[in-house]
């Protein structure tokens, strides 16, 4: 078992999930409640990583992080280093790649909140922030947890994007899925099996959490 890869993967998944809560909640609120006609364009952009091959996303991110793009040059100017083949680059790639897995359950949850409750809150003087923070988010919290758990699990299992953007640098960008690939390449099946089994168990437990929440085990009673 490669503990270094395990810790790196856990760090990557935790950081990605945390960023996705901060980024994903406002995006999901906007997608759930905005009445803009061009909203479908934004929805499609958010959903792109689901249909796009990971290597395609990884390739474009690698290009964007490089010194040929203005983004890459700006980052290099600001920090003195490049995002490609670094842990930071891996985090950015993971956030983008897992965005739909966090946002889609959240949007579904927010849309499921009874609009009358929001109307009642408005008549009681509540602005958007109070409605979202005190009505929508508490009522849709199982969807929030689902979004976070799915994005965590998805980040843990990433392979294509990680390999494209991060390469395979031990302790910096070598995650568990890359480690399994390395071990299989080296015909070290026993070690690959232990790592794969660990990932399998973690993924199963995470999915159990999601489905338990979807059964509304912990939901507020409504009548």
């Amino acid at each position: 078992m490669n503990w270094q890869a395990l810790v790196l993967t856990a760090e990557l998944a935790c950081l990605t999930s945390f960023i996705l809560i901060i980024v994903g909640v406002p995006v999901a609120l906007w997608l759930a409640f905005s009445r803009r006609r061009w909203k479908f364009l934004a929805e499609s952009v958010v959903a792109l990583p689901i249909v796009l091959p990971p290597t395609v996303l990884g390739f474009y991110l690698l290009v964007a992080f490089g010194s040929y793009s203005s983004l890459g040059r700006w980052y290099q100017h600001m920090t003195g280093s490049t995002l490609a083949f670094t842990f930071g680059g891996l985090v950015v790639a993971s956030v983008l790649y897992s965005l739909p897995f966090a946002v889609h359950p959240m949007v579904a949850g927010f849309r499921g909140v009874d609009p009358k409750l929001m109307a009642a809150a408005r008549t009681l003087g509540a602005g958007k922030f109070k409605i979202y923070s005190q009505i929508v988010l508490p009522l849709a919290w199982p969807s929030l947890v689902t979004g976070v758990v799915l994005s965590f699990a998805h980040t843990v299992g990433e392979f294509g994007v990680v390999l494209m953007v991060g390469g395979n640098i031990p302790g910096i960008t070598r995650t568990l899925s890359i480690d399994i690939y390395d071990q299989v390449e080296a015909l070290n099946y026993h070690s690959a099996n232990i790592t794969a089994l660990t990932l399998l168990i973690v993924s199963y437990l995470l999915l159990c959490t999601v489905y338990a929440l979807n059964q509304k085990v912990f939901l507020w009673g409504t009548r």
């Binding site: 009358k116 409750l117 109307a119 009642a120 408005r122 008549t123 009681l124 003087g125 009673g221 409504t222």
Partner: protein, 235 residues
């Protein structure tokens, strides 16, 4: 005290059928009942006054404040109108206790807020269920929580959208008695939407009869309801 309502709005009665809500009326002090069959536009009037939907044109002013005026493009957002609204299905926040529901709209914090909530709980006789969620209390208690929540913000106007329809007569009469007492004490005018004759007679002072988006009659509650009922029965 003046409440002037002039609303024009196209309403989709069914997928293929539309009609125009076109009303122009004033409300004196007391409770004005909007009486009429389902789908006549009663709820839309309340939603326009509360700011939850916008009329196509018209003007709404409540106690000297213009809430909406299509001519001068005034449209005060719902959260700034200070209008109490009791929804047909009450729309209590299911994750909050009765006390939290009542305190939601109070703009002050700390001791003063707690005192206001306590007063409202006592006035509407729901102190024993203060820390229960809506799913854990009876229909009558939920009704009282919804009324207390709408009234504790000291509204300029109270809007009641058939809030008693799910209650039995005994419970209904007790709640209507308490509500009437509160309205008289505080001098808050109310618009009460119903198609139930008994409720209109019990709570109302004046009645507007609405039919397919038009006011087809108005008057004192007693004679109006009796006359219209017999007219409708004859027709």
């Amino acid at each position: 005290m003046s409440i002037n309502i002039r609303i024009r709005r196209t309403i989709a009665a069914t997928r293929h059928q539309r009609f125009c809500l076109d009303v122009d009326f004033s409300c004196p002090a007391g409770v004005t009942v909007i009486f009429g069959p389902s789908g006549s536009g009663k709820t839309t009037i309340l939603q326009c006054i509360a700011g939850l939907v916008a009329p196509d044109s018209g003007a709404i002013s409540v106690v000297g404040e213009d809430f909406y005026d299509s001519a001068s493009r005034v449209n005060v957002p719902a959260q700034h109108r200070r209008v109490g609204y009791v929804f047909q299905d009450l729309a209590l926040f299911p994750h909050m206790t009765a006390a939290q529901n009542i305190g939601f709209g109070i703009r002050v914090n700390g001791m003063q807020k707690r005192a206001m909530v306590r007063d409202a709980l006592e006035k509407f006789r729901i102190t024993p269920v203060a820390y229960h969620r809506p799913a854990e209390i009876s229909g009558g208690e939920r009704q009282r929580v919804a009324l207390a929540r709408a009234l504790v913000i000291q509204p300029r106007l109270l809007l009641l959208d058939e809030p008693f329809s799910a209650l039995d007569d005994e419970l209904k009469q007790g709640i209507i008695r308490d509500l009437k007492q509160w309205l008289n004490e505080n001098g808050v005018p109310a618009l009460f939407v119903t198609h139930h004759r008994g409720e209109a007679l019990a709570l109302g002072d004046r009645v507007l009869l609405l039919k397919e988006g038009k006011i087809v009659g108005e008057g004192g509650v007693q004679e109006a309801i009796v006359n219209w009922q017999s007219q409708i029965a004859c027709a």
